[in-house]
Subunit: 173 residues, 2 copies
Amino acid sequence: MTVKNSLLAILSQEPTHGYGLKSAFEETTSGTWPLNVGQVYQTLNRLERDGLVETGPVDDSTRQTWQITQAGRDALGGWYGEPVAADPPIRDELAIKVLLAVATDEADISDILTTQRTATMERIQELTRHKRKADPDAELPWLLLVEALILKAEAEVKWLDLCEAHLARRTKR
Amino acid sequence: MTVKNSLLAILSQEPTHGYGLKSAFEETTSGTWPLNVGQVYQTLNRLERDGLVETGPVDDSTRQTWQITQAGRDALGGWYGEPVAADPPIRDELAIKVLLAVATDEADISDILTTQRTATMERIQELTRHKRKADPDAELPWLLLVEALILKAEAEVKWLDLCEAHLARRTKR
DNA sequence: ACAGCCATGTAACTTGTTACATGATTTT
DNA sequence: AAAATCATGTAACAAGTTACATGGCTGT
């Protein structure tokens, strides 16, 4: 749903052609989430099928633009109005992996935790470098995004530490 | 990939029949992530197609079991050995939503942040109740899971606060 | 007898994604 | 002239998910 709603959000501003949607999405997310153009056209067809967008005027007499319909605006309003779903929480690959490793008594559980922590801490370092370089006036979206990624990564490291503590405690007895 | 690898992890212990895989997965994740049985059979067919599992003996002379192949063990080892992918980071619906709202100058950006924070804080309260009730000896996986969800939710709230601070600062000038 | 769970399986569908074919325009 | 980017579109596939059909077993 994320890609669909994102395209609707961009189209809610002005009619846009396919490639323009790709560019706008990647600009807005500062290149963090690349979007294959092919997927834009696929998604537009699906949105049209569902009556959320329709073809608009041809700009420069070459490019086909798409525009949002009222149903599309309603759907977008619904997306903005509802908190992101947390029930059931979205599948957390790391949590599932660790829980399965614990449940199946996978020998290398400690290795798994260490490997993940190393990777995540390196990531935090890199993100922090980006954050220091970011200009909060000119690049507010980029800064917000970097901060989101850092906070997520930090939460992950905290959890990995908790896991180790629990497991060490369990092994001892 | 998560469901596929999860089934491999369970099968790495012992051959299991379809419904047993569903039960084992839900038990391991303490019911947090329900798994439709139909999906188990679908996934088993795909794993068989890829040579990662094969049909095993029929237990009780009624139920068809499945067992992991060497290729399956290799794939599972790869999953355990690699940190979960962070490049590009997995799509964060909330971050994308907020960034798009900022970029398109969506009027209700403050509402979006408030709605999300309210929902997430309620979630934290509920999770904290679960955490207090959990017995760390008998229910270690459940406790770990609850802690993961709490840490994630807390990071989300922190980020929402940061967003508001940045936006307030921007509006002022 | 009936409800509820255990159990298997298939069909259909959604979302996301990549690979490919094709060509115009722009930059070097 | 070559390379890069802009631009559109289709085919095919991967992964997740639901709905449905079907029947056995178990406890009340």
